[in-house]
Symmetry: C2
């Protein structure tokens, strides 16, 4: 997957093509709504809850936000990553005919390099699918060392988690489905949209937020919504969400200086977002025409959002998947922007739940019950 001559441009058309290719292999995950969370998102935080945060002393923002949740936690293997992986491997089979013929359809022997501290449910899930798991240290440098060694020993072909257009195009299909599904939902029940102008009650999303680790999902979704094929009046703003713990907000900090940070060593509970943003995703995310902003939240805010989703929506998400909702509910910079840009009408806003790989024990431990 390293021959750049075969790389496809990141475009809306190529996301559509990716969707056609992967559709037989993935779930069209449902889009859910939740009145309680709409109410919470549209209620100002109490000034007291801002004490001790960077927002202390500010007048809490009063945005009006109407939420739609794209449940990729219900995706096969419990996360959106099935999309990019299927797309990359199916495209790989097209290019490497000899390999595809030699290996029974998609039953290519797989070696997966994972940090030794990965959550046990992710390791068990990977092994259950027949892959040979090889452990590395927890930083991306340590992981790349091990990958290099495996490639030189076995001649394996690297399918990276986010640093490849085929992966990003696959993840971008989340945006395609999300857009189509919300339009259909609002067509069937116009009351689901917050927009008051009947001519604009077309189900177009005003904004979408996704978690941001390596950046494959965020840059894929931003590619879908920004490629210029949509109606200009219905521009959907794309946002990214990161944990702030131990510097995992590398993308926020990279955007502040304009230089991509390439090393992160954080043990945030959002374990899927511990990696620094990759170079190809960064080429999308650093473009303000494509990604309007990236915001960070604390571990406590991630847990509070996760609890709301579990207890109110009855949906199991992993901590990484709660980061987008945490920004919507708790980050005053984001909320002030939403209040200003959404105005009195408010926003129809999409939140991507990226994955659900956790266990009852892990949840119990996280909330130390």
């Amino acid at each position: 997957m390293t021959d750049r001559a075969h790389w496809r441009p990141l475009s809306r058309t190529n996301i559509q093509a990716a969707h056609t290719v992967i559709q037989p292999h993935i779930h069209t995950t449902p889009v859910l709504t939740c009145r309680t969370l709409n109410r919470l998102a549209s209620t100002p935080q109490s000034p007291g809850s801002l004490l001790g945060t960077p927002f202390e002393g500010r007048t809490p923002a009063k945005p009006k936000i109407n939420l739609f949740f794209k449940c990729e936690n219900f995706q096969r293997i419990g996360a959106f990553k099935a999309r990019g992986a299927f797309h990359a491997v199916l495209r790989l089979c097209n290019h490497a005919q000899a390999l595809a013929l030699a290996a029974a359809t998609l039953k290519i022997p797989a070696r997966i390099v994972m940090p030794r501290i990965s959550t046990p449910s992710k390791i068990a899930g990977t092994e259950a699918h027949g892959a040979n798991v090889i452990f590395s240290g927890s930083t991306s440098q340590e992981r790349e060392e091990v990958v290099k060694h495996v490639i030189s020993e076995t001649g394996a072909i690297l399918v990276p988690p986010y640093e490849h257009p085929d992966i990003i195009l696959g993840q971008g299909t989340v945006g395609l489905e999300f857009e189509q599904q919300v339009k259909q939902m609002v067509r069937q029940d116009p009351g689901l949209s917050v927009r008051s102008d009947p001519a604009r009650k077309d189900g177009a999303l005003d904004a979408v937020i996704t978690p941001l680790g390596g950046g494959g999902l965020n840059s894929g979704v931003a590619t879908w919504f920004s490629s210029g094929d949509g109606q200009p009046s219905n521009k959907t703003l794309v946002f990214g969400a990161e944990p702030s713990y131990e510097g995992a907000d590398d993308c926020c900090r990279s955007l502040a200086t304009g230089t991509r940070i390439t090393s992160v060593s954080s043990l945030t509970i959002a374990d899927g977002l511990r990696t620094p943003v990759g170079a190809i995703p960064w080429s999308v995310i650093s473009n303000p025409e494509k990604v309007r902003g990236v915001y960070a939240v604390t571990e406590e805010q991630i847990k509070a959002a996760m609890r709301l989703v579990l207890e109110r929506m009855k949906v199991v998400i992993e901590p990484s998947a709660a980061v987008g909702l945490a920004v919507v509910l708790f980050n005053e910079d984001f909320r002030a922007l939403a209040e200003k840009e959404a105005g009195e009408q408010g926003w129809d806003m999409g939140v991507v739940f990226s994955g659900g790989n956790t266990s009852i024990e892990a949840m119990g431990q996280l909330f130390s019950c």
Copy 2:
């Protein structure tokens, strides 16, 4: 709600009418599928896992079961009960015009009698909706004592949880939606049905199982599927599922003797199913043309089913909601019947997840992590 002259017959037509009345107030909850659970349901249990159970020494059954899950845990207030309650109160308003006029639309002052040992999340949820909660002992006798007292003190009108046709007709709308949704899903993707004959790939369910406590949900769903308005070739068998702990399997035992048991005192983890089956539900459930059978499962089996739903389907259900799936996966009497009646083709089978009212703490405690 005690004037029997106004009681409507339990029929498919009246369930349709109930659905029209309540639809603006309830969610059309999604129907989900899960390949992992289809595989587990269609794999014989190991003989070892039957040791120490009533099925010890039997050859484990080999049914072929293809599952569809109706997610009433995503319903408003987190359970199907919103259906019957909305139907009963809306009908009440029709009959008691003076009351309906006096009370702002649906904002009738409500007094809710609940057992003192109800789960804290249910008590908090009830109070959050503005109701005045009055506590009683845990048996249905103790509850009725308190209800009588409240009525004599306040002149309140009793809206019972299951002993009224309006409640049962409301719960029956779960059957209506489930039937329509699975037909639509199979029309869009015939591969979702296990049936091999293309002429029969119409999405009709071969069987449906629901949890059974007071029996409102089960008798409502059975009313929908048995009222004879459907295609006879597509008869959907309805089953009930109970916990066996401390005699909570009162309906199984009632069916065995033909006499309804009216008192149960069980602290099963399936707290929604601690009540004995009511007289009106019993008139439906005791009719073998309407309910094909009721099966019981142990606390451990309920927990195992709940864990699979949480960790594999990423869906939060309360223990009561897991009882139907537990029967499908673990009750050898049910599995043997399914093997015999479904044959080689297998069954397209619906499972109702009745509710999701639990908390992270309660889950942690249940699995003592």
